[in-house]
Amino acid sequence: MPSPTKSEPQAPNSFRAGPDDHGFFGLYGGRFVAETLMPLILELEKAYEAAKNDPAFQAELRDLLEHYGGRPSPLYYAERLTEHLKGAKIYFKRDELNHTGSHKINNCLGQIQLARRMGKTRIIAETGAGQHGVAVATVCARFGLPCEIYMGATDVARQSPNVARMHMLGAKVNSVTAGAGTLKDSMNEALRDWVTNVRDTYYIIGTAAGPHPYPAMVRDFQAVIGNEVRKQMLEREGRLPDTLVAAIGGGSNAIGLFHPFLDDKSVKIFGVEAAGHGIDVPNGHNASMNGGRPGVLHGNRTYLIQDEDGQILEGHSISAGLDYPGVGPEHSWLKDTGRVSYVPITDTEALAAFQLCAKLEGIIPALEPSHALAYVMKLAPTLPKDDLLVMNMCGRGDKDVFAVAGYLGMKI
């Protein structure tokens, strides 16, 4: 158990060893949940450890990822974007081509297998952009388990295509009107459901956050992204990438890309936070590491957007998937240790990147990776031409076309 306020000052021997036995990454993480959930959280940890070390579990997961999920996803050289930015050689990791349209399926296929192993008969989940909700509804349909998704009312409105998809997949979608009706509120409601139905229900958390073992488990399921990039880049270029960039809401696609490279000192790593209306606008962004401070919410200690009294703020982002006032605890630790740089990108910058990518590369990105792309647009021109940059294109923009058309004043 670490001191509750001090982070470790010195760099660790490995950045890939966490969490510790209590679920902490330095100061961050842990298991801050109500007693009703504690026995289940401990049971989940045991079940996950057993599954992780079971070759049969891993073989089944690999098979599903390949034949159902569509992995490996391509590593694509974005030639026109590279020419346009006149700097680093830019690759996209094409996780938007996965089944269901984002990286979320990687985690859901892992967790649904675990839920089945644990004998759970009902699945719940929270969702922001709806990408996780769709992935959960998909795996529940595939394995015949009933499923309820909690989604903020604001997000239900701005991501309506995904709401329709969840319905078609047979999920029940519960619109959450509490708070600002975004991801934080949907997570509160999912936790309330879980505490009520704890005996038969498995909660598939969609990001690398929440009580231990979720941050480590979700990271492990998403690390397939970084492991593939490593292999693909060695095949393509004969060496490791120099620069990694990914968007951060809770941070699951980012930790999945970053984690396999954390101990490769030559690799520079950037996580991109949602700066909404601007990092200086009070309650106008969700850049928890650039504009927040450590606190405890949703089962873990991590950077949070909060007021002086410790009340959690709603924040804002144009991207429903990044509209969350916290971040996965491993990112908080990577920030404090300095291993990863976390940078802010505003709504306006993300919208510009969204349009540029569509027109230059013929890829309509989701608003979440549009934030990563906006930072690539700033960073790439400052890098030499032989710098190998990989950006995680973690989701496709089909869900966002109506919302973006609205922002841009397009008639469709």
């Binding site: 026995p39 309330r192 949703h298 002086e308 959690i312």
Partner: protein, 279 residues
């Protein structure tokens, strides 16, 4: 040996009288500071033996709609952790007997930060704390520092707390044990009495502390039935729901807000005192 606290004295006196404890919960600053203070000051006379004061939090994950709304009303009216401690200080100026337990979530304490909060809580006249999202696994952070300052740290035991886990839950618990009678959130389904009886008996075999029962208790009849199988009963959602129903159209305290809360507490207390047998 721990010095005797207001909580210990209260339960010892109740035991001598042969009646169960009536524990009431209201949120600090709901619907506003002055009304909340008047409600609190009248609770002992209306029949409350122990007072739990909710520390408002933006994200009360273990609470049902009634307590959520109560928490948000208080925050909207400007309640803060500092004002909650001030409320306790002002209560203590008038009442130095009734035990006060602060109940809430970890984050507002953590950012206070912990040591300063515990010092000020003790100096304000707080007797104990219930912090929903700090499990025994994190005792070194908050529970042990609280105990060092003479504050009781009251732990929730739940229907999922099995025999293997119960010793960990009871290890650093002091004052009393709060048995959460349902798997769920505050103010939800009514507890099944036979289950509660068996669970309370199980807990009492492992601890000499009093065991009180809460979550989902609404009526005098329920309170009476549950009091037969425990050392006390907690009522919260029904009280803050009463506050809500008496508010004016502008959302502010109505003319009956204070008296309506005291009336329901009187009714519940009367129900409770007609409990027949003690365990």
């Amino acid at each position: 040996m721990r010095p005797e606290t207001r909580i210990d004295r209260c339960f010892a006196a109740l035991k001598r009288e042969g009646r169960p404890a009536f524990v009431t919960f209201v949120t600090a600053g709901d619907p506003d500071y002055e009304t909340s203070k008047a409600i609190l000051l009248g609770l002992p006379e209306a029949g409350a033996d122990v007072i739990e004061i909710g520390m408002p939090f933006s994200d009360p994950m273990a609470d049902g709609p009634a307590v959520q709304a109560s928490s948000l009303r208080a925050l909207k009216a400007g309640q803060t952790m500092k004002r909650t401690l001030q409320l306790v200080r002002e209560f203590r100026e008038k009442d130095n007997l009734t035990p006060i337990i602060l109940m809430g979530y970890y984050n507002p304490i953590y950012v206070y930060p912990n040591d300063a909060f515990l010092d000020e809580a003790r100096d304000s006249g707080v007797d104990g704390m219930i912090v929903v999202d700090v499990p025994p696994e994190a005792d070194e952070e908050l529970c042990l520092p609280a105990i060092e300052r003479g504050l009781s740290f009251i732990r929730l035991a739940t229907p999922t707390t099995d025999d293997a886990r119960l010793p960990a839950v009871l290890a650093n618990t002091s004052g009393f044990v709060y048995y959460v009678s349902i798997t769920g959130i505050t103010g939800a389904a009514a507890p099944v009495v036979s289950d509660v009886r068996a669970q309370v008996a199980r807990i009492k075999r492992s601890t000499p502390l009093p065991v009180v029962v809460g979550f989902g208790v609404r009526t005098p009849e329920q309170a009476r039935t549950l009091a037969d199988c425990a050392d006390g009963v907690v009522v919260g959602s029904a009280l803050v729901e009463t506050i809500r129903t008496t508010l004016g159209p502008d959302g502010r305290a109505g003319p009956d807000t204070i008296s309506a809360v005291h009336r329901i507490v009187q009714n519940l207390a009367a129900g409770l005192r007609s409990a027949t047998a003690r365990v």
